[in-house]
């Protein structure tokens, strides 16, 4: 591969060093013509890495994205030609998701506010839980109701699909958990009891750790988290230690359970015996939400954008492969959002000190979410803004303003290029990460939007709220 080795004296080239996000250099410093833009740099990187197919890359110079030819960038920022320019390249997702712009269907059915919605990991099924104590399954092709699952005694607060898509579990305000068969819409067994107060979160064990999905962990207001086995239909381990309500729980890819609580601490538990490994302190008020850098991959398991189905024995390997790819060489990162208006970025397996404190919000942070490729962190706050942070260093990138009411939830598109936010002001907004601007405004709900989800195959967006209807949006 020959590059134009024109003298630096001609003023037409600049010395550049390409590095990947973790810091390893790609080759040595080389001369690159000044009219080289992102496209040419992409070719260059693909050649250096000997990729079989042309993978898309995005380039960053000192944390700013490089969208114009290198020469223009140099002129604008008055960087000297004589210094070596470090360009960080990051791989973008191969597939591109179309932005959603219209409401394809408004499906009524729930008799009370819709409290939670979730797509199955393969993106073919949709479940929603509501204040009328039912869980409803919806058909995505005809956009009509499929099943109404009755069995809960009080509001259904959370629903969670197993990463292999075979089980659906929902938790309610009376502390019981119901397991449903998604194909038939029936209750499997009887409701699981054990928690004394309402369930705040459910998280499944990743597929790459145990192939037919059996275990999941639930967190509750009564201060403990319980690990359940769906085949035994009972609680195996009870993780107690928190003094106040546990607001969120996540099962990490390395087999550690993270629980965030109102007592301002995050506890890490090991899953074989339920022992406390570490406690992460730092927040000054309730912890509202946790997010892991590999969360999206753990949720979707072995399914990816190609939509292939794998036989059970291959699922585990494929899931492990996807997990390792998403994780990279760096340890898993955790971000926690709290009522004290700040978030902390942790590397929990490395140390119990936080890596960075992300400040900037002017009201409590309600929801934090890593992008599927782990490069960005989005945080939704009651101060009507959504903030974007660098997923690796935790540095603040931009604030998306546009909502006129507290922003309740965010969701990423599967290619990490778009971010969706739902708010109390009854609108949903899609923000584009590349231009850092509002891409699409989705009004239409008549009351607060409580839950949003983007399907893993990127085709549809679902939103539900206080007006008791489910809206499906399409590109």
């Amino acid at each position: 591969m020959t590059m134009d080795t024109v003298d630096a004296g001609m003023g037409k080239t600049v010395m550049c060093l390409l590095t990947d996000p973790e810091g390893t250099n790609l080759g040595s410093a080389m001369y690159i013509p000044q009219n080289a833009g992102p496209l040419q740099l992409t070719h260059l990187v693909n050649n250096f890495l000997n990729n079989e197919e042309m993978l898309p890359y995005s380039f960053y110079v000192s944390d700013e994205e490089l969208l114009v030819p290198v020469g223009t960038y140099l002129e604008k920022n008055k960087v000297s030609v004589e210094k070596v320019l470090t360009i960080v390249y990051q791989q973008q997702a191969v597939f591109r998701i179309r932005p959603v712009n219209r409401c394809s269907q408004t499906i009524a059915g729930h008799e009370e506010a819709v409290l939670c919605v979730s797509f199955s990991p393969d993106g073919k099924q949709l479940a929603s839980g509501s204040g009328d104590t039912t869980v409803r399954l919806w058909d995505l092709y005809t956009e009509t109701p499929l099943f109404t699952c009755k069995g809960h005694k009080n509001w259904v607060l959370t629903v969670a699909w197993s990463p292999d898509g075979k089980h659906l579990v929902s938790g309610s305000k009376s502390g019981e958990i119901c397991c449903w068969n998604p194909k038939k819409g029936e209750l499997e067994g009887s409701p699981l009891t054990g928690h004394k107060k309402w369930i705040t979160g459910i998280s499944w064990e990743p597929v790459h750790l145990s192939s037919p999905c059996r275990r999941f962990v639930t967190s509750s207001k009564d201060g403990d988290a319980r690990i359940w086995d769906i085949t035994l239909k009972k609680s195996i381990i009870c993780l107690s230690g928190h003094t106040l309500a546990v607001t969120c729980v996540k099962w990490g890819g390395d087999g550690i359970i993270y629980t965030g609580s109102q007592d301002c601490t995050i506890k890490m538990w090991e899953t074989t015996q339920g022992k406390l490994i570490r406690e992460l302190k730092g927040h000054g008020h309730w912890i509202n939400s946790l997010a892991l850098s590999t969360e999206y991959v753990l949720r979707t398991g072995a399914f990816d954008h190609t939509g292939r189905q794998y036989p059970p024995n291959e699922e585990k390997q494929k899931a492990l492969q996807r997990y390792n790819q998403a994780k990279g060489d760096a340890p898993e990162r955790l971000v926690s959002g709290s009522d004290d208006f700040t978030m902390f970025l942790w590397e929990p397996s490395v140390s119990k000190q936080s890596k960075k404190r992300l400040t900037g919000h002017q009201q409590l942070v309600n929801h934090v979410y890593f992008s599927p490729d782990g490069k960005w962190i989005a945080s939704a706050s009651f101060d009507k803004s959504v903030r974007l942070w660098n997923g690796v260093t935790g540095q603040f990138v931009t604030a998306f303003r546009g909502h006129v009411g507290p922003v309740y939830q965010v969701s990423w598109s599967a290619d990490s290029r778009m971010l969706l936010s739902g708010s109390k002001d009854s609108t949903l907004k899609i923000w584009e990460i590349r231009t850092k601007k509002l891409k699409q405004d989705l009004p239409g709900h008549s009351d607060e939007v409580y839950a949003v989800d983007w399907s893993p195959d990127g085709e549809k967006v679902v939103s539900g709220g206080k007006d008791r209807v489910l809206k499906l949006w399409q590109g």
Partner: protein, 260 residues
């Protein structure tokens, strides 16, 4: 001997009838039937009075029965499904409903119109007139009692000159005149000695306000140009209100808290 005692005397001497207790028991057993016939047959006001008494007794009986029925065993309270379902992240938060917010803003506007402000001491002990004034006797024979001397701390402005002594009704002794007050900032918790500009309102009455009497709870205006406060528009603030928090006539100084 009183007449009732003869009956008793006879009972003591000769005892009662042989079937007395039997008859008494049976009579008492029939009492409910008798009461019931009386209640049914009585007419007019008497009937109503009996009915009312019966009803109150019935209600009392029902209450005591209910109390006895309450078992000490605890049962899990059946939580009814309530209205207004909210997701898990909103459950522990008391969000003011939209209606409440609207009514709050209206109430705020009304308060502003009425001129009722929030002050640190909303209520103070009212000071009576005889406590506030002392009667000064004047005249050749010291019989005239129309003059009054103020016994509390007062503020007179810098351009104050007394009325001709023959005609002044209210005497404000110079020993009780104050020009400066020790004003505390409530949030910063630091105290400054600031000049008083004027007495705005004395809670005991408009007469005292016009006299410039400063008792506990009086709102005074103080000169805050020393503090260097600036309004959002960029103008320098030089006067602010403060409320007197002590009894200056007892202490010899005026302590006040700034109203921010």
């Amino acid at each position: 001997m009183p007449q009732g005692d003869y009956i008793e005397q006879h009972r003591k001497r000769h005892g009662r009838r042989f079937d007395h207790y039997e008859r008494l028991r049976k009579k008492e057993a029939r009492a409910s039937h008798k009461h019931s016939t009386m209640a049914q047959k009585s007419l007019g006001i008497k009937g109503k009075m009996i009915a009312k008494k019966n009803y109150s007794e019935k209600a009392l009986m029902k209450k005591t029965l209910k109390m006895h029925e309450e078992s000490s065993s605890r049962r899990k309270a059946d939580e009814n499904v309530r209205e207004g379902a909210v997701p898990a992240y909103l459950l522990d938060r008391e969000e003011t409903t939209r209606a409440k917010v609207l009514s709050n803003t209206i109430k705020q506007k009304r308060k502003e119109k009425a001129g009722k402000w929030e002050v640190p001491l909303p209520k103070v002990r009212p000071v009576a007139e005889d406590e506030m004034f002392r009667v000064i006797r004047s005249g050749k024979r010291k019989t005239k009692q129309w003059k009054r001397m103020v016994t509390k701390a007062t503020f007179v402005g810098p351009a104050f000159t007394r009325k001709p002594p023959k005609y002044e009704r209210f005497i404000r002794p110079s020993g009780l005149r104050f020009t400066k007050a020790h004003v505390t900032h409530p949030e910063l918790k630091c105290t400054f000695c600031l000049e008083i500009i004027g007495v705005k309102k004395n809670p005991n009455g408009p007469m005292y306000t016009s006299l410039g009497v400063m008792t506990r709870g009086t709102i005074v205006e103080v000169n805050v140009s020393e503090l260097g406060l600036v309004t959002p528009a960029g103008k320098v603030v030089w006067g602010k209100y403060a409320q007197v928090t002590n009894n200056p006539e007892n202490d010899g100084c005026i302590n006040a808290v700034l109203l921010v």
